[in-house]
C-alpha cells in the first residue's frame, strides 16, 4: 500500500508529510504576532475567514534557527482530525515535491539514533539526494511546544 507524501525543506533537511493532511500550499501572508506563545509560533493569519495559527517549521522541528526568508518560502496549511480539522500553517523554506512511498518500507527512526530526531519522525527514506525524514502529522502538531 503506497501513500503520497509532500516533501519540503527546512534548515537544509528534507522532511515529508502525508499529502492527505495538507490542505493547501500558499505563499507567505502577513500575520499578526501574539504574545505568550511558544517560540515556534509566529502568530496568526486570516485564512479564508478563519484564524490560522502560523508556526515556523524550522523551530517546530527543533532546529536552532528559524526559516530564512526567500523566494521559495511557502506555508503548508495542514489539518489533522484530532484538532477537529482546524488548519495550522507551517512555514517552510521550500516545497520539494511529492513522493510516493510504501510506509512499511521506510527505515525505522532508530537507525539515525545518533542524531537527536524530533519525536514526530516516524520513518526514514534513504534517497540518492540524502535521506528524507517522514513525519507523523499528529505527533508534529501534538502541542505547539512539543
Amino acid at each position: 500500500m503506497t501513500e503520497r507524501r509532500l516533501v519540503f525543506l527546512v534548515a537544509g533537511r528534507r522532511y515529508a508529510l502525508p499529502l492527505a493532511g495538507v490542505l493547501e500550499v500558499i505563499r507567505p501572508e502577513p500575520h499578526a504576532w501574539i504574545p505568550n506563545v511558544p517560540p515556534a509560533v509566529l502568530g496568526i493569519a486570516n485564512f479564508r475567514g478563519r484564524t490560522l495559527p502560523l508556526a515556523d517549521g524550522a523551530l517546530l522541528l527543533r532546529h536552532d534557527r528559524p526559516v530564512e526568508p526567500g523566494e521559495a518560502v511557502r506555508i503548508l496549511v495542514v489539518a489533522h482530525p484530532e484538532l477537529q480539522g482546524t488548519p495550522v500553517g507551517i512555514l517552510v523554506e521550500r516545497v520539494a515535491g511529492i513522493r510516493t512511498v510504501d510506509p512499511a518500507a521506510l527505515r525505522p527512526r532508530d537507525e539515525l539514533a545518533g542524531r537527536a530526531l524530533h519525536a514526530a519522525v516516524c520513518g526514514i527514506e534513504p534517497t540518492d539526494a540524502g535521506s528524507v525524514l517522514h513525519l507523523d502529522l499528529a505527533l508534529l502538531l501534538g502541542r505547539p511546544d512539543a
Binding site: P30, A32, I34, V41, A45, N46, T51, L83, T86, L141
Partner: protein
C-alpha cells in the same frame, strides 16, 4: 422526541420554577395568598398535563400537592413548618420524576411515602379551627356590571338582546413564539459575517470614491445596523432568569449551614445575551455559595459583633453604558487579607519581599489565583472544584471582568462587568510593537496624548499625572514582551484595572471598531492575555487583548 412532549417539558420546567419561587415566598410569609394560589395553579396544571401523557407518578404527587394546597387556601390547615417541609418535599419529588422524563426515561415511582405524607398535610391540623389563616381573596375590583338592560346595538331581527358589548374581555396576552436557540445563534453568526463584509465594502468605497457606491453603502450600513441590533435583541433575556434560582438555593444553604440569610435581589429586568446568562450560572452560583458558606457568620457570632443575626446577601444587575454590571455582595466577615497573603506566599505566588509592596486591592484579587483557598478543608458546599480561579476565567472568557472588594468585618463585594453580547465586541485599535492590537472598549476609560516629559518617576515605577491623579504607566510593548519595542509611544490609553487605573502607552491610536471575535483555535488553545482574533475590513487579523491578564502577569514578575 414528540413535539407535544417537548412542549410539555418546556412548560412544566417553567411551572416548576415558578412554583419554587412562590414556595420560598410562602415560606417567608405564611399568609401570602398570592403565593398559595400560584403554587396551586402550577400543581394543578402539571397534574392535568402529566395525566394526558400517562405520567401517572407525576399526576399522583401533584394531585396530593393540590389537595394540601387547597386545604391551606380554605383555611382548613395552617401552613406551619411541617406543612412547608412537606410541600418542599413534594415538589422535590415532582422535580426528580420530571428530570427522568426530561432525560427520555419513564418517571418511575414516586419516592416512597410522599403521597401519603402529602395526603396527611391536607388533614385538618390540630389547631385548625376553620379560621382562615390565609386571608380570603380580596374582593375583586368591581367590574362594571355586564349591562343587562341597556341595548348596545340595534335589536337582532329576532328580538333577542344583542350580547353586551361592554362585557369585559381579558387583557390581550403577549404574543410570544418559541424558537430554538440554535437557530438564533446561527442567524446572529450570519449577521456577524455580514457586518464584517460591510467593513470591507467601506474600504472599497473609500478607495473607489464612486458616488453611487457611497450612497448605496450608506443605506446598506444603516439597514445592516438595524438588522444587527434587532437580531441581538432576540437573544436577550432578563437577568431574573439567573437570579430566580437563588431564593430557594440560599434558603437551603442557610438551613444546611445553620445561618440566617436574607436575599435581596434588584435589577432582574436588566437584559443580557442568553448565552452569557447561561455561562454565568456556575460562576454566580459559586459566589453565592461562597458568601453563605464562608462570608456570612453564624447568627450568634454576628450578634456578638453587634450585627443583625440575619445576614444579607444581595444580588443586583444594572446597565452601565454599553455593558452590564452584576454585583454579589454580603455583609459578612469579609476577605481576610492576612490569610490570603500568607497563602499566596506559601503557594509561591508572591515573593515574600514583594508581599509588603502589594496594595490591599492587589492582595484581595489574589483570591482568584489558582491554588489559593483560605479554608484548610474544602467544605461540602464550596469545595466542589469550581474555585474562584474558575469563576474568573469563566467571566473573562465572556469578555468580562470581575473585581473583589472587602472591608474586614463588614462584608465582601464582587463586581462582574460583562458586555451585552458576545457576538460583537467593541474595541479600540492601537499600534504597538510594530503591530495592531485590539483593546476591549469595556475596559477603556479614556485616551490621551502621551508626553514623555510629563512622566514622574519613582524607583521602579513611572507615573502619569492625570488631573491630579497619579496613574501608573505600563508600556504595552513591554507588557506584551515583544522583542522589538517599536516606535516611541505617543498615546496613552487609561485602562480600568480593578480599583485603579493604568495608563497603557502605545505608539498611536488607530480608531475604534466593532468586530466579531474569533477564537484562536484548538491548536493554540487559551493564550494568556489574548481574548481572540478579530478580522478587520481589509481582511487583516488583529489580536484582541485581555488587559487584565497581561497586567497580572506583570505583577508577578
Amino acid at each position: 422526541m414528540d413535539d407535544l412532549l417537548s412542549e410539555f417539558i418546556v412548560e412544566t420546567a417553567e411551572l416548576l420554577a415558578s412554583a419554587e419561587r412562590s414556595l420560598v415566598a410562602l415560606d417567608a410569609a405564611r399568609s401570602d395568598r398570592a403565593a398559595v394560589d400560584e403554587i396551586f395553579r402550577a400543581a394543578h396544571t402539571i397534574k392535568g398535563n402529566s395525566a394526558f401523557f400517562d405520567l401517572y407518578a407525576i399526576a399522583d404527587v401533584t394531585h396530593a400537592l393540590e389537595s394540601a394546597l387547597a386545604a391551606a387556601r380554605d383555611g382548613r390547615v395552617i401552613p406551619d413548618d411541617r406543612f412547608m417541609a412537606g410541600l418542599f418535599a413534594g415538589f422535590d419529588a415532582v422535580k426528580a420524576l420530571f428530570a427522568r422524563v426530561k432525560g427520555g426515561d419513564p418517571p418511575g415511582d414516586p419516592p416512597e411515602g410522599i403521597v401519603a405524607r402529602l395526603a396527611a398535610l391536607a388533614e385538618r391540623t390540630e389547631d385548625g379551627d376553620g379560621t382562615a389563616h390565609i386571608p380570603p381573596p380580596a374582593s375583586p375590583a368591581p367590574a362594571p356590571d355586564p349591562p343587562q338592560e341597556e341595548e348596545t346595538g340595534p335589536d337582532a331581527p329576532d328580538g333577542s338582546r344583542a350580547p353586551a358589548a361592554a362585557e369585559r374581555t381579558a387583557p390581550p396576552v403577549e404574543e410570544t413564539l418559541r424558537v430554538r436557540v440554535e437557530h438564533l445563534n446561527r442567524l446572529i453568526e450570519q449577521i456577524g459575517e455580514l457586518v464584517t463584509i460591510r467593513s470591507g465594502l467601506r474600504h472599497a468605497d473609500r478607495r473607489l470614491a464612486d458616488p453611487e457606491l457611497s450612497r448605496l453603502h450608506l443605506r446598506m450600513d444603516k439597514s445592516l445596523r438595524k438588522l444587527r441590533d434587532l437580531s441581538l435583541s432576540l437573544r436577550m433575556l432578563p437577568v431574573s432568569r439567573l437570579f430566580d434560582r437563588y431564593p430557594r438555593l440560599v434558603r437551603d444553604l442557610a438551613v444546611k449551614t445553620g445561618k440566617k440569610v436574607r436575599l435581596a435581589v434588584a435589577g432582574g429586568e436588566t437584559e443580557l445575551d442568553r448565552n452569557i446568562i447561561e455561562e454565568l450560572a456556575d460562576p454566580l452560583l459559586h459566589l453565592v455559595r461562597n458568601s453563605v458558606d464562608h462570608g456570612i457568620e453564624p447568627p450568634e457570632l454576628r450578634e456578638l459583633s453587634g450585627k443583625d443575626p440575619t445576614g444579607t446577601l444581595s444580588l443586583s444587575a444594572r446597565h452601565v453604558e454599553n455593558h452590564v454590571v452584576i454585583e454579589v455582595r454580603d455583609d459578612g466577615s469579609g476577605i481576610d487579607r492576612e490569610a490570603v497573603l500568607r497563602k499566596a506566599v506559601e503557594a509561591g505566588l508572591v515573593d515574600r519581599q514583594a508581599a509588603g509592596t502589594l496594595s490591599l486591592d492587589d492582595v484581595i484579587q489574589l483570591i482568584f489565583e489558582p491554588g489559593l483557598s483560605t479554608r484548610d478543608r474544602a467544605t461540602e458546599l464550596s469545595g466542589r472544584g469550581v474555585g474562584m480561579d474558575v469563576v474568573r476565567s469563566r467571566v473573562e472568557s465572556l469578555h468580562g471582568t470581575i473585581h473583589a472588594q472587602s472591608v474586614p468585618g463588614e462584608g465582601a463585594r464582587f463586581e462582574l462587568r460583562l458586555p451585552l453580547t458576545l457576538a460583537i465586541l467593541q474595541v479600540l485599535l492601537v499600534r504597538s510593537a510594530g503591530g495592531l492590537f485590539g483593546l476591549p472598549l469595556l475596559s477603556v476609560e479614556e485616551t490621551a496624548r502621551f508626553n514623555p516629559a510629563l512622566v514622574e518617576r519613582e524607583p521602579g515605577l513611572e507615573f502619569l499625572n492625570l488631573r491630579g491623579e497619579a496613574v501608573r504607566i505600563a508600556p504595552l510593548d513591554a507588557l506584551l514582551g515583544h522583542p522589538d519595542p517599536g516606535a516611541a509611544p505617543r498615546h496613552a490609553v487609561m485602562i480600568r484595572h480593578g480599583e485603579r487605573r493604568v495608563a497603557l502607552t502605545v505608539e498611536r491610536l488607530a480608531g475604534k471598531a466593532e468586530v466579531v471575535l474569533k477564537p484562536l483555535g484548538p491548536w493554540l488553545g487559551r493564550v494568556p492575555g489574548v481574548m481572540g482574533a478579530a478580522a478587520l475590513g481589509d481582511g487583516s487579523l488583529v489580536p484582541v487583548l485581555e488587559i487584565g491578564a497581561l497586567l497580572r502577569e506583570r505583577l508577578h514578575d
